[in-house]
Symmetry: D2
C-alpha cells in the first residue's frame, strides 16, 4: 500500500494545515474524474450569498474527512484496537467517497434534478462503478460504507451521530463562513474516542466536548444552514429548476448546458442508475456541476416565461425573495392574501402561483434518540447514552424536534 | 480627554491583535504601580500545572476587558444610545479596575491571606484610594462600578451575567489553555447588544450565540477551572497558607517575604482597610504577588513542620495530592479510613489531619435564575429571559445547580 | 451618508471577522449586479488545482480591501490628517470598485477574451457607467482612483506599492491557500501609516514589517501565483480560449454560453467600450463569469477539433500538462524535439503546434525602483526610500528582477 | 519504550493544539523537579513589559521543541532515513533538556549570577546529573546533544541554524507576543527536511520558506528580543544584580531569598559545578527561578543604598530608564554629559555611576556564514548553501552583521 514517490501526497488545507493522502489507492481515487468534479461543487451551495467566505467545495470536505479518519485510526490503534492496513485503507476510501453522489446545489436540488434517489444511494452507485474499474479494490470500503463489515465501529466512523463527516463539516463550514462559534474541537473529540464491544465510544472526560459539539451543530443549523436568506435563495433555485422542467415537459424550449438539458428533458429515476445504460446516466450525472446551473440560470434571465425569467434575474442579482419564519404555522388567510397579490401583480394563475409563493416547514433536532446513540465510557467500562450522561442536556432537551414554518414570496408583494 | 502624543497607547495582545487605550486617565491608571502589580499575578493561578499555556496575567485580562468595553460602547452608540465621552471614559476605567483587588492565587487564597473581605470589596478600596490620588477623576467610574449611576446598562456591561469581564476571560482563558471549545464569539455577542429601557439586551438573532456562551462557560468551568488536578493543587496551596498562619499564630517562626510575613503574622480583616492605617495595609497588600507565595513555599520545603514541608515539597515538584470527585457525597467511612492512614503514615493527630486530608463540595450553574437575567429582544420590542427564549436550554436546565463532592489526600495513602 | 437601518451593513468574513459597510452609497454599489457578479469570479482562477482552499472570490477581496481602507482612514485621522466624510466615502468606493473590471480567470485570460484592454481600464469604464447611474455620486471616487484628486495619499492607499489592495490580497490568499508563511501583519502595517507632504509613509519602527511584507509577497509569488502546476493549468486555459477563437474565426462552430459566444465570435477591442454601443458591450462583459468558461470547456471535451478537445479534457480532469521551469533559457533544440514529438503523436502541424507546446518567460521583482517608492519616516521628519532604509534588503536586492523560463507540453510527450 | 497507561502523555498547547510525550523516559524527565522548575522561568524574561502576552515559560518551549522533533523524525523516516527507536528517544530527550541550564531572566543574567559558565554548559551538567540518576539511560541523548554521535543530522536537529529549537521559539514567541509577522511555517519547513550524506538539508522548493524564516528571525530580533524598552528593562535587572553582589561583597547586608543569597554571597564559577560539592551547587541553582529575583527586587526597593533602591523601585513600577539606540556609536561627550547629570542628581561618584549610566553595542546577523550552513537540496542531489541558492538574499546580505549602539540612563536626567 505504499505510494509511488512521484505521486504528490500532501495537500495544503487552510483548516488543518496539511492533509496526507496515505494510500496509493486513495491517491488514484482522488485523481479520478468522478472525484475531481467535486472541485466544482460548493459544499454549501448558495450559502455564500450570506456568508461570502463559504465558497469551499465538496472536494475539500472529502479530503478533510479522510484527514480526521486517519487521526481517528491512529488514536484507536494507540489504545490497542486492531485496525489492519487493509481496514485503514478501506475506511479512508469509504469516507473519501461518502459524498461523491452529491450533485450541484445538492442540499436544494436533491430531488429536483433526479427524483427519487438520495445522494447516499448515488454515492454507492459511484463506488460500485469505481470498484469495477479498480478491479474490486474497493470491496472492503463498500462493506464498511454500507455497514456490512463485521467491525461495526469502522462504519460508525464513516456514518453515525459522531462521524468524521460531521466533525469535518462543522469545523470547515464554521471556518469558511467566519461563524467562529461553530468551531468544535474535532481533534480533541477524536483523541477521546475508544472502542468497546465493537462500538465507537467517547471517554467520560470528553462529555463537555460532546455537549459543545451538539450545541455547535444546532447553532450552525439555525445560524448558517437554515439562515433566512440562505433558505430564500435555496427555494428560488428549487423553483427555477422545477419550472424549467415543467416548461420542458410542455415542449417549451429551455436552453441549458448539454448535460443539464439531458436531465431536464427526461424523468430520470433510481432504476435508471441500475439499468442497461446506467454507465451513461452516471457519466452524464458526473458531468454536472455548479457551473451548469449558474450558466443556465443566467441564460434564462431572458426566457419568455415570466415566472422563470423573474426567478432567474432575481437570483443572479441577489434580489432575494422575502421569507417569513415563524414558530407557529402561518395562517391560511395570510398565504391566500399573498397569493392574491402575486396573481394580480404577475398575471399568473392556479398551480403556476406555487412557483412564486410557497410555504412549508423546517425542523431540526440536535440529537436523535432513535438513531444510534453517542455512548459515553466511564471508568470500569460502564456505557451511557450521552443523553443520560449529560447532567445538563437531558434526553428530552436533546432530542426535542424544533419545528419552524415559513412563507416565501417576491419582495415587491408587501 | 485626548492623550499626550508621547504616551504609548496601543498594546499588542495575542487575543485581539491590538488594544487601544482610549483615554489619558486610563493610561495613567495603567501606569500606576497598583495596576502594574497585576502583571505579576496570573489570571488562573495554578492552572498552568495542567494547561502549561495558562500563564497569562490579570493585567492582560483587565486590558482585554477594556478593549471589549470600547467595542461595546461603539456598537451601542451606533445603535443610537447616547453615551457621553465622560461616561465612556468612566466605564472603561471601571472595567480596567474591576479586578484590581485580586491578590496572588486569589481564586484559592481569597479567604486565607485576608479573612473576611472579597476581592470585589478590595477592588472598591483600591478605586477609592486611586480616586483620592486622581482628585476625584474616578467618581463616575466608581458610581458605575457600584451600580449607583442612573444609566444601569453601563453597570451591566461591567458586571452582570453577560458582562465584558466574562466575555474576555472565557475567550482569553480558552486561548491560553488551548481548550479551543471554550472559544466564544465575543465580538459577535457584542455586535448584538442593545439597550432597551436602560437594560442591556441581546438581539433575537443572537440567541444561539448566547446559548453557546452559556455552554462554553460550563465547559470551561468543569474542564479548566474545576479540573481535578487544578483543584488538587489549589487545595494544596490553601492548606499551605493556613498551616503557615497556624504555625505563625503559635509562635513558630515561618520565614516568608517581608510583605507576606506581614499578613501571616496578623489577622487582617475588612475593617483594617478602612481604619486609620488603611493606606499602609492597602500598600502592603499591593506589594503581594505570585512571587511572594512561590518563594515562600520554596523556602518552606525544608521547614521543620512535617505537614508544612510535605505540602510545600509536593506542590513545588508537582507531586499533586490525589483527589476523588464524585456525583454523590463521599461516605464518612471512606474519609475516616483515609484519615486513619494519614495518622499512621505521617504521625499526626486531631485537627492537624485536616491539612492533609480534606473533603468538600463544588458546584456550578450555567446561569443563575436569581441574578439579573440575560434579556433577549424580539422584533416589536418584546423582551424575554434567555431561559424562556431558548427552545433548547429551558430554565430548569439552565439554572440547575450541578454539585460534586471531593476527597483530597496524599497519593501515598492509597 | 448614514445608512437606512434596514440595510444590512455588517458582513461576516473569515479573515477579519466582520466587515462593516460604512456608507449608504457603498451599500448600493455592493448590491449592484455589476458588483454581485464578482461573487462568481474566483480571486485566484485555477490556483485551487494546487491549493484546494483557494476558492475565494473577487467579491470577498473587494470587501476586504474596503475594510482595510476604513482602518487606514481611522488611523490617519487619529494622527491628525484631515479626511472629510466625503473623501472617506469616495476612497472606500474607489477601492471597492478597483477590481470590478476583472473577467473570469482574469489573470490568465486578460488578453484572450478582449484583446487590448487591461482590467484597470475596464474598471474605470465600469465606474464611469455606474457614476452615470448614480448621478455623479462617484465623481470623487473616480478622481481618487485615477490619481487626479489633489490629496495624492488617498490615491496611494488605493494603488501603490503599499496599497490596501495588496495588503488584503496577500493576507487573504495566504489564508485560503493555507500557505501560512504568506501571512502579513496588515493591521500592524496600517497602524504605522502616516502622511507627510501629501505622501503615504511608514513610521520607522514599521520597517521590519515592510521587509516582511516584501518577502511575503515574493514568497506568495513563487509559491502560489507562479506555482508550476498553477502555471501549467493557466497556460492550458489560455490556449483553450485562443483555440476556440481561432476555430470560430475560421467558421467552425464552437458552441459556448450565449455571453461567451458573443466574445468568441467578435474581435472586441478597447474602442468598443467607448463606442455607441458601449452599454451593451459592457453589459455583455458583465454577464461573464467563471461558470461560462467552465461549462464551455466541459462542452468542448467532445469537440471534433483534436487540439481543443485534448486541452479541454485534460484541464477538466486535471491531467495537467508538464511544465519545466528553469533559471536559464530553454535551448531551441529541446523545444524542437518536443514539438517534433507533438507533431507525430497528435498529427498536427505548423502554427497549430503552438497550442500544445509553448515556451516563454516569467519574472518578478519584490519591489520596483521605478514605481513610486515606499517611504520610511524617521524622527525629525526625514524620509527614506525603504530600499535605502533597510539595512538588509538594499536596493539592488529588492529591485532585482528574477526571471525564469518555461517549456510546457502534454505529459505523454516525455 | 511504551508508556504505562496511567501516565498522562498528551499535553494541551495553544500553539500546536496537543503535544504528545512519546516515551516513558521523556515522561519521567518531564516529571523531574529539575524540569518542573522551568515552569517558573519565563521564556522571554522581561519582554512582557512591552508585550504583555509574553508570559510563556521555558517549560512550554521545551515541550514544543520535542513536538517538532517528533514531527521531524516522522518526516525523515517517511523519506527512508533510518532512525531507530533508541535514536528517536534520545533525540527527543536531548531537545527536551537542551535549555534546562537556563536560570531566571537568563538572557539578561547569564553572566551575573554565575560568572563564567554558559547555559549550554549548565544544560550539559544537568544532563550528566540526570543520566547518573537514570542509570545511563541518557547516554545516547548526551552524545547527540554534544555532537559526538555518528549520525550528525540528529545533532543538527537539536542545534544548528535550522534546529527545532529555533523553529519552536520563533513561532511560540510570535504567538504569545502577538507579533504575527514573526509566524513561520514550522510544519512546512519540517515537511521539507531531508538527509543527504548525514547532513540535514532542505528540499529546493522550501527555499522561500527558509528565506521567510531568516527574515522572520531578524524581525523578531529587532522588534521583540532587542526592543528598546525590553533592552532598557534588561539592563536594569543586570545592574540590580551586579549592584547587589557588589554590596554583598563589601559586607553590606542584602536580604534575598535563601537560594539567591547563596549566589550573591559567593563567587560561583564553572569549576564549582564539577567539584566535590557540585551536587549541592547544582541543586541550589535548580532552586532558583523568576520569583527569587522578583521578591528580592521588591524587597530592595527600600534598601538604604540609593543606587539599588532606585533601580529596584523603577523596575518594579515599570518606570523604565531611557535608552537611546543609534546606528552610529554614541559620542563620548554625550555620555559624559549624562554621567555628569547623574553625578549631581544622585550624588554618586566614580565607578558607581556605571550602575545608572551605561553604554554599549548590540548586534545581530540573520545567518552566520561561519557556522554550519543551511543546505538546499536540488534535483539530482546537488547541494547549495542557502546564501548561494537564494536569488534574493545573497551571502553578503544574509551574513551582514547589523550593529547598533545604545546609551541608557534614568529618564529624569534629560
Amino acid at each position: 500500500v505504499s505510494l509511488p514517490t512521484n505521486k504528490s501526497k500532501i495537500i495544503n488545507d487552510p483548516v488543518y494545515g496539511f492533509i496526507k493522502i496515505p494510500f496509493g489507492s486513495t491517491y488514484d481515487l482522488v485523481e479520478h474524474s468522478y472525484f475531481q468534479r467535486l472541485r466544482r461543487i460548493k459544499q454549501l451551495g448558495l450559502t455564500n450569498y450570506v456568508y461570502p467566505g463559504a465558497c469551499h467545495t465538496r472536494y475539500q470536505h472529502a479530503l478533510g474527512a479522510t484527514h480526521l479518519m486517519w487521526l481517528a485510526i491512529e488514536v484507536l490503534r494507540t489504545k490497542g484496537n486492531e485496525i489492519t492496513d487493509q481496514e485503514a485503507e478501506a475506511s479512508i476510501n469509504a469516507i473519501l467517497l461518502h459524498d461523491i453522489g452529491h450533485g450541484p446545489f445538492s442540499h436544494a436540488l436533491e430531488h429536483s434534478i433526479i427524483e427519487d434517489i438520495t445522494h447516499e444511494e448515488l454515492s454507492l452507485r459511484f463506488m460500485e462503478h469505481l470498484n469495477a474499474e479498480f478491479s474490486g479494490r474497493l470491496d472492503l470500503a463498500i462493506e464498511i460504507y454500507t455497514g456490512r463489515y463485521h467491525k461495526k465501529f469502522l462504519h460508525q466512523l464513516v456514518t453515525s451521530q459522531l462521524d468524521v463527516d460531521r466533525l469535518d463539516y462543522l469545523m470547515r463550514d464554521s471556518f469558511f463562513t467566519g461563524v467562529s462559534e461553530g468551531v468544535i474541537g474535532s481533534d480533541r473529540i477524536i483523541k477521546m474516542l475508544s472502542v468497546v464491544s465493537d462500538q465507537l465510544v467517547v471517554d467520560a472526560k470528553g462529555i463537555y466536548s460532546i455537549e459543545k459539539f451538539l450545541i455547535a451543530r444546532r447553532l450552525m443549523y439555525w445560524q448558517v444552514y437554515m439562515h433566512k436568506a440562505v433558505l430564500a435563495a435555496e427555494i428560488m433555485i428549487v423553483k427555477i429548476m422545477q419550472r424549467a422542467k415543467h416548461l420542458s415537459n410542455q415542449g417549451i424550449p429551455v436552453r441549458a448546458t448539454p448535460d443539464l438539458e439531458y436531465f431536464l428533458n427526461r424523468s430520470i429515476k433510481q432504476a435508471d442508475f441500475k439499468g442497461r445504460d446506467h454507465h451513461s446516466v452516471l457519466d452524464r450525472f458526473a458531468n454536472l456541476d455548479d457551473s451548469d446551473i449558474i450558466t443556465s440560470v443566467k441564460a434564462w434571465k431572458t426566457h419568455p416565461d415570466i415566472v422563470l425569467s423573474t426567478l432567474c434575474k432575481r437570483l443572479i442579482d441577489r434580489k432575494l425573495f422575502r421569507i417569513i419564519i415563524s414558530d407557529k404555522s402561518i395562517g391560511e388567510e395570510h398565504i391566500s392574501r399573498i397569493r392574491e397579490l402575486a396573481r394580480s401583480k404577475y398575471g399568473i394563475e392556479g398551480s403556476d402561483l406555487a412557483y412564486l409563493v410557497s410555504s412549508g416547514e423546517i425542523s431540526n433536532n440536535a440529537y436523535s434518540s432513535e438513531d444510534e446513540k453517542i455512548k459515553i465510557l466511564y471508568h470500569g467500562g460502564q456505557l451511557k447514552d450521552v443523553a443520560d450522561a449529560s447532567d445538563m442536556l437531558d434526553i428530552s432537551v436533546l432530542s426535542k424536534i424544533v419545528k419552524k414554518y415559513y412563507l416565501w414570496y417576491p419582495k415587491d408583494l408587501s
